[in-house]
């Protein structure tokens, strides 16, 4: 029976070659995108986790604190505990490279102790190096990945910036255990403290519990020793942090892939639905011969299943290919900047990959479900009659259903995120799509019934055809609607985001020049002397300083960023776009929180909060909420003077310079360079803005690729449905040719039909896309990344896109029809009437 079904149905796919290939490609593309996005993400996370594993080794727990580190005296207290078997102190610095852009993570470990907790990290001294070099103040071991990427060999010099100084490090050997792409350097802890300006400070202590000690008891014993601001975390927390930060981004990419797949399902639906109609007589014959309804149903579903299976498997292979290319070209975060270590190898994540293959299969089978049911329901007798003309049944107008789904989107949009992901937001998007598609027949009826009659015969024929057979038009335009809706929504979201980032950059970059002598996780900065020198530079009218730092709140996997700046008299709203700004009572210390901090920590304006600074909990009043596109994990803004009072830390990370009238940025830059040396980064507001927007565009590059695929699949749908319809309309065209239409006129008719059909989908897609765009901007982005943005619609691009889509559809319909028209139309009439 299986073989019979195969020969009766599945083998027939090869007869409808164009439609089958397009369906196959659509499914394959959808699956490939999902597989690729997932593989690249998995590989990046794996590489990151591998790095974390190598670096934290067999540590049971880690003590971490502010990014600038904590007093090393804690190490002695911790190591002395009975419950601690080994305590390994760690200096962990992100050192900017002096000779090229970027930075290198450098760990300072007690090389004698580290072997007991990080056995995977074995520094191997190069044979050319004297044996005591490993403890030399400038000695660094590099992981193979770092060696490769920095193009260094043992014996050569690595130059890094430490505050305003540049330090030469001697590469004395390789790190074994860091082979799998983790890019970092290792120094002896004493050398690291001295050379990276960390004397007396540690960033981390790795711990292994003594045997037989209950971890809970050990943790309790330790907790009493930790001053505020230091927390005890599992070593996996770093990996979790990376995963958590990038999760929403990854989920959004995954959703885009799923939407592409759904568009593919729609394409399968369109081509199957039309082919079922066309094969009405064939199915009737089979029914007459004794093929049961069940077999017919199975047969049509089997066609979908075959497409789904083949497409899925091809998509799997294609996905691996895409992932490999993407990894090489865009990096493990697909350009979004989440991971610094580029994975060198793909991690094959079979389970999730197979889920996408299964989704492709399900999409194709589901796409065949309605056509299969339609085939079974069709009465065989009429189709057996001579002269039977297959036609798509009028589709039911599910107006109430459509409106219901659209309305359902509203309450869904109001539901808070689930596990950090905007699950309900995604459901709302699905509701809008389903609702829009359900309303499409009604829209078609309205639209086509009111199209004016035209003199041009070609257009008029097309108009009558789409009005008369609106079922077919609706089916073909459904796929267009889905893909256009997606593209429009993304375009609106990206435009809103980009405009908001642009406006934000305007606000936060008021000065002419910015100098930077260190970043979070990097040693050093502008000390008091450097600050004074800056202020006295000729041509500099005013200087404002920023101190960046990260602290840890108990129980939070993510660090909280601190932005310490002088708060001007007119309020913090002058520094960042601010909402709900309020004055705090005298005696209260104000603090302004970012939207992410508001979402993640549940803080509200007016609330009193406590944050650990300098080992002491300090009380603050939330005095406003600001928009922050720079720190997804949450940030607080505090007054620089307050920060200095609490931290005994007079360094500044950045300084903003306003130039005196008449001073030129070039001259001041040159003088700064001369005075402070090459370690100082000097950039103009314009450069920061350009590089920020470039990073923004790079982040969305993958999104564009996914969108393009969905749009392509939508166009395939038009092509496939026209290919199917034209084949069934051979007699009609033959008759028209008898009446005296030229071949070109028939082609033009088809193109008009394609344009009208696509126009329907584009109209629906614009409406649905607008709604989805609102959901993306207001719900999904806000919940995923915790930043708000101003809604803006890129009218011109949308207009251009819509016209291009309609033109492409006309072309696709014309091309799909060409094949059918090549076979003599005159013969078509004689043959079978």
């Amino acid at each position: 029976m299986m073989r019979l079904i195969f020969s009766l149905f599945v083998a027939g796919l090869s007869r409808r070659r164009l439609a089958s290939i397009l369906s196959f490609i659509a499914i394959a593309l959808g699956v490939a995108l999902g597989v690729a996005v997932n593989l690249v993400n998995r590989s990046a996370l794996d590489a990151f986790e591998h790095g974390v594993r190598v670096i934290s080794g067999e540590a049971d727990m880690q003590i971490i604190g502010p990014r600038q580190g904590f007093d090393e005296a804690l190490y002695a207290r911790v190591a002395r505990l009975d419950s601690v078997e080994v305590a390994s102190p760690v200096v962990d610095i992100e050192a900017p490279l002096a000779d090229k852009p970027g930075s290198l993570r450098i760990l300072g470990l007690d090389l004698l102790r580290a072997a007991r907790i990080q056995p995977g990290l074995s520094p191997k001294l190069d044979s050319t190096q004297a044996s005591e070099s490993r403890f030399a103040a400038d000695a660094v071991f590099l992981s193979s990945a770092a060696m490769r990427e920095l193009r260094l060999e043992p014996g050569q010099t690595l130059r890094v910036k430490v505050g305003l100084a540049i330090r030469d490090l001697r590469v004395v050997g390789t790190l074994h255990g860091g082979e799998d792409g983790a890019r970092f350097g290792l120094m002896d802890i004493a050398a690291a403290q001295l050379t990276l300006d960390q004397l007396g400070r540690l960033q981390r202590i790795d711990l292994r519990w003594a045997e037989g000690v209950a971890p809970s008891q050990a943790r309790a014993q330790l907790a009493g020793l930790l001053p505020p601001g230091l927390t005890l975390v599992q070593p996996e927390a770093a990996a979790m942090q990376a995963a958590a930060l990038s999760r929403a981004y990854r989920a959004n990419l995954g959703m885009l892939a799923v939407v592409a797949l759904a568009t593919g399902a729609f394409l399968v639906f369109a081509s199957q639905a039309l082919s079922v109609v066309r094969r009405g007589a064939e199915f009737a014959l089979l029914r007459a011969l004794g093929v049961s309804r069940h077999m017919l149903l199975t047969g049509v579903l089997a066609e979908g299943a075959a497409l789904g299976l083949l497409g899925g498997l091809a998509g799997l292979a294609l996905g691996f290919l895409f992932a490999g290319v993407a990894l090489r070209v865009l990096g493990g975060d697909l350009g979004a900047g989440y991971f610094s270590d580029a994975p060198t190898a793909l991690s094959f994540d079979w389970p999730t990959s197979l889920v996408f293959v299964a989704l492709g299969f399900i999409a194709a089978v589901a796409g065949s479900a309605w056509p299969a049911r339609a085939a079974v329901r069709a009465a065989p007798a009429p189709a057996l009659r001579s002269g039977y003309q297959p036609s798509v049944p009028k589709l039911p107008t599910r107006r109430r259903l459509g409106v219901g789904f659209l309305l359902l989107a509203f309450p869904l949009a109001a539901i808070p995120p689930l596990g950090g992901l905007p699950v309900a937001g995604y459901l709302a998007v699905v509701c809008v799509l389903v609702g829009a598609i359900a309303l499409l027949p009604a829209l078609a009826r309205r639209l086509f019934a009111h199209l004016p009659a035209m003199q041009a015969i070609v257009f008029d024929l097309a108009r009558q055809r789409v009005a008369g057979a609106s079922g077919q038009a609706v089916i073909a335009s459904g796929g267009v609607l889905a893909s256009v809706a997606l593209a429009v929504a993304m375009a609106i979201m990206v435009a809103s985001f980009r405009d908001s980032v642009d406006a934000w950059l305007d606000r936060v970059l008021p000065a002419d020049l910015y100098v930077r002598a260190g970043r979070i996780g990097q040693a050093g900065g502008l000390d008091a002397a450097a600050q004074m020198a800056l202020e006295r530079m000729p041509g500099v009218a005013r200087v404002e300083y920023v101190r960046h730092e990260q602290i840890r709140l108990p129980g939070s996997v993510l660090p909280l960023s601190i932005v310490a700046r002088r708060i001007p008299a007119e309020g913090a709203g002058a520094l960042f776009p601010m909402q709900a700004e309020q004055r705090v009572a005298a005696g209260d210390t104000p603090i302004w929180i970012s939207e992410a901090a508001q979402d993640l920590f549940g803080w509200r304006p007016g609330m009193a909060i406590e944050l650990p600074f300098g080992g002491v909990y300090r009380s603050f009043k939330v005095a406003g909420v600001w928009r922050d596109y720079a720190r997804q994990n949450g940030a607080v803004l505090i007054d620089l003077a307050v920060y200095r009072r609490f931290n005994a830390d007079a360094l500044a990370t950045d300084a903003a310079l306003w130039l005196a009238p008449g001073a030129s940025a070039e001259n001041v830059s040159a003088e700064l360079r001369q005075r402070f040396g090459a370690a100082l980064d000097i950039v103009s507001a314009g450069e920061i803005r350009r590089s920020s927007l470039a990073l923004f565009d790079r982040t969305f590059a993958v999104t564009y690729a996914l969108e393009a695929c969905a749009v392509l699949i939508g166009l395939f749908g038009i092509a496939a449905s026209f290919a199917a319809a034209v084949a069934a309309r051979k007699k009609e065209f033959g008759m028209l040719r008898h009446l005296g239409l030229t071949r070109g006129q028939i082609g033009a008719t088809l193109a008009c039909e394609g344009a009208l059909t696509a126009g329907l989908g584009v109209l629906g897609g614009l409406a649905a896309g607008g709604l989805i765009g609102v959901l993306l901007v207001r719900v999904i982005n806000r919940q995923s990344f915790h930043w708000s943005m101003d809604f803006s619609i890129p009218w011109l691009s949308l207009l251009g896109f819509s016209l291009a889509m309609i033109a492409s559809a006309a072309l696709a319909a014309r091309l799909a029809g060409a094949q059918a028209m090549r076979e003599g139309a005159l013969r078509a009439v004689r043959e079978d009437s």
Binding site: G12, R287, L289, G290, S292, R293, A379, L384, D832
Partner: protein, 218 residues
């Protein structure tokens, strides 16, 4: 033996037949003539179980069609009936032999046995050497021969023929009718043929006319 017992069928507000009855013995070949729209094709559809009667019953060798569900009717067609259509209706993507073998395959007959039977059936309609070819290579007359082979390959009790010569020139039509009659008789099957053509009716044992919902001997 085919018995039509008081068949009643109404389409819209038009009463096609009321209490239409007919008995046809094994080996019988009946032609039914009638004006267009008298319900000839509908009658065939009712016998085939493709449409349901509003009343009455169809019995074949005592087996009743009334009350059977769609699956059972499908089995009924599969096991007891063969069809010949005016427009041939062969599947273009199957070979000539595969088209002929289809009813046997639907009955679950093993492939080798089924193909042998179909081959001999093709031989008896004069297409013995064409089995590996495709329907597209056949002329109209040859397509109808293939249809006859397909209608009889599974040794049905009853062959329903709907204007089998409607798409053929008179010469071909004559040959096809002779072949159909010969094959039906050889197998001892019954045949019910709907036709306009008096030439076609001439090969039948009995010629009935469908008029005003009644069958009358011509």
């Amino acid at each position: 033996m085919l018995e039509l017992i008081a068949l009643t069928k109404t389409i819209g507000d038009r009463n096609l037949f009321s209490a239409l009855s007919l008995r046809l013995e094994a080996g019988g070949f009946v032609a039914i003539r009638g004006e267009s729209g008298t319900g000839k094709s509908t009658l065939l559809n009712l016998i085939a179980g493709l449409e349901s009667a509003d009343g009455g019953d169809v019995r074949l060798n005592g087996n009743s069609l009334a009350g059977l569900d769609d699956d059972a009717r499908t089995r009924w067609r599969r096991d007891h009936l063969g069809f010949v259509f005016q427009a041939f209706h062969v599947l273009p993507h199957l070979t000539i032999l595969d088209n002929a073998v289809l009813p046997l395959r639907l009955q679950g007959v093993g492939s080798t046995q089924a193909r042998a039977a179909a081959q001999s059936m093709l031989e008896s309609v004069g297409l013995g050497v064409r089995g590996a070819g495709w329907p597209g290579e056949l002329s109209g007359g040859e397509l109808q021969r293939l249809a006859i082979a397909r209608a009889l390959v599974h040794r049905p009790t009853l062959v329903l023929a709907d204007e089998p010569t409607g798409n053929l020139d008179p010469e071909n039509a004559q040959r096809i009718l002779a072949l159909l009659a010969q094959q039906v008789r050889t197998q001892g099957a019954m045949c019910l043929m709907v036709t306009h053509s008096s030439q076609a009716a001439a090969v039948a044992d009995r010629v009935l006319t469908l008029e005003n919902g009644r069958l009358c001997e011509a």
